[in-house]
Amino acid sequence: MTAKKGISLALLVAGVAALWLVPSMGVSDSLLNLLILMFIYTMLASSWNILGGYTGQVNLGHAAFFGLGTLVARILYTGGRPLFLALLAACVVPVAFSMLIGIPAFRLRLRGDYFTIGTLALSQILYITIGNVLPKITYLPIADIQNYQLGPRYHIILASALFTIGVAYALVKSRLGLGMVAVRENEDAAESLGINAFAHKLLALAVSAFLGGLTGGAYAYYQTSYYFNYTFSPPWSLEPVTMTFIGGVGTIHGPVIGAVFFVLLKEWLVMKVGEYHLIIFGVLFLLVVLFLPGGLVEAWERIRRVFTHRPAGKIVLSPSAEGSDLSGNSLASERKEVPMI
């Protein structure tokens, strides 16, 4: 067992090292750009997954965190502040903003759907407001554009992505992460075990906003020009959800796989069918939600099991996957399993 773990770890380190060295291998800029997109989308999906996947609070307005990150980072950076400061602020501001809805919504113990449509509304407010206040295109500083270098950007964004995954991993493997999952599975049962549901949900939201903001900061540092409100637009809320579900919601590697898959498929589809890729992606998303709630990760597990003839340890993401009684709704809801804490 430990030997196997050691091998996995070695492979991981080797993979990261290889990724780190890619720019010095004299590869084309388009490959670097593709990899950068993968990193950014990985961050986007992973940051969404912390709240959506591990506490079950579906956020349909992740663009708000991402957008705020880009806005803050861009303004500070083009204003001549150091990059590090710009990125840090890009993380902090979305956290403060997230508390605006998180504290009241979770304190009142509003049902999950209220939180969901609340996030949808908040992101729209920002989208419209930013469009009104800053109806312009933002450019990187002239000096940056004239001397635009992909290499350093690649490394900073890769580091941010690794940081994001690392934080997600550490959080999920900690007691806090277990508590979050308990809250997702059954809030009342979790509370009766002494888990503070409010604090756990709020923490997950804060971390999700923090990393979503970092994603935005990375994007702002990377893109030469875009409309200020573009990064608040609905696709930035849609994509993290679809990527996470397609990859595997509620797992660490799911969002990574989903993001890589998304970027590659998009690249390929755009060549083949142009703008139709969004339709294809939407259909894929629906199929996953309905028929493969564990996403590609679950699909892979199933395939592997067929080959290794392991007994099926079922992945149950939402207790809903289980049958209920003939005509309906609520039988299963009263008895959900709670992981041991």
Partner: protein, 292 residues
């Protein structure tokens, strides 16, 4: 100045009735099936395009064509329900709502992009012979089309109210919304009722979409906008109350118009801000009783 105020009040009422009609379908579906269909705005959009093309290609008058666009939406709603939402119907309520949000989200994305591909991103209006005609009351200009739309919206809401109060099927729908299990024990086929409610909601979206197309305009990206308007009204009016939905719609319309006098760029933000406030302060709606 007073005329300006009166004018914007009136246009607020005119658009508010459409908000009410748009929301009532969403409210009906949610109240009965506990499916929160965030692709409701896209259904509205499809209704708008249905009447636009009926008018442009076949010369069908948009008002006369309302039954046709409703019928189109009945079919689309039926397909949507059978293929997707019916698979969620047996889940426990919490999971059902969550998954329906995801499904609706995905469907909205798909429908919006299909519309973009088929009909381009252009903003289109229906230009009938009477499109620009107005009449004036006490210095307030009233476009005929929008006033007619208001009347039609009221008629639809009243008809729905009567249907739910007076007919056997309507009562079965209300019973199912209150307690589906007890409803089953009455011999009511609750799955049939779920399907019927969803399709009815879609048909209402079709009617609302037509009125939006004829009084304003349609474009593929309008779905999200109308879903949000419907959700705002839903939250203000409380679920399952038709009167509440209408009042919620009117309040939203008037507030937006009033706000637009001073801060015209933010008219849609005002509604959303009210929405968040109501959500946090009175989650059961301004007029609604507590659920259950």
């Amino acid at each position: 100045m007073p005329t300006t105020v009166a004018q914007s009040l009136v246009s607020g009422i005119l658009v508010g009735a459409l908000y009410g009609l748009a929301a009532v379908g969403l409210s009906l579906v949610f109240g009965v099936t506990k499916i929160l269909n965030v692709a409701h705005g896209e259904l509205l959009m499809l209704g708008g395009y249905a009447s636009f093309w009926l008018f442009t290609l076949l010369g069908v008058d948009p008002f006369g064509g309302i039954p046709l666009s409703m019928f189109a939406l009945v079919l689309i709603g039926l397909i949507m329900y059978q293929l997707f939402f019916s698979r969620l119907i047996k889940l426990p309520t919490e999971d059902k709502i969550r998954n329906s949000l995801l499904i609706g989200f995905g469907l909205g994305l798909i429908l919006q992009n299909i519309a973009l591909r088929l009909w381009t991103a252009d903003n289109r209006g229906i230009t009938t012979a009477y499109a620009g005609a107005t009449f004036t009351v006490l210095g307030v200009r009233l476009p005929y089309v929008r006033v007619a739309s208001l009347v039609i919206a009221f008629v639809f809401l009243l008809a729905l109210q009567l249907f739910l109060r007076r007919t056997y099927i309507g009562k079965a729908i209300r019973a199912t919304a209150q307690d589906w299990e007890a409803a089953t024990l009455m011999g009511i086929n609750v799955h049939g009722i779920y399907r019927l409610s969803f399709v009815l909601g879609a048909a209402l979206a079709g009617a609302a979409g037509t009125l939006v197309a004829v009084g304003y305009s349609v474009e593929p990206v309008m779905g999200m906008h109308w879903t949000l308007k419907s959700l705002i009204v839903l939250v203000m009016g409380g679920i399952g109350s038709i009167a509440g939905t209408l009042v919620g719609g009117l309040i939203l319309g008037v507030t937006e118009s009033a706000a637009a006098i001073w801060i015209s760029n933010y008219r849609h933000v005002i509604g959303l801000a009210i929405f968040i406030l109501v959500l946090l302060i009175r989650p059961q709606g301004l007029f609604g009783a507590k659920e259950g």
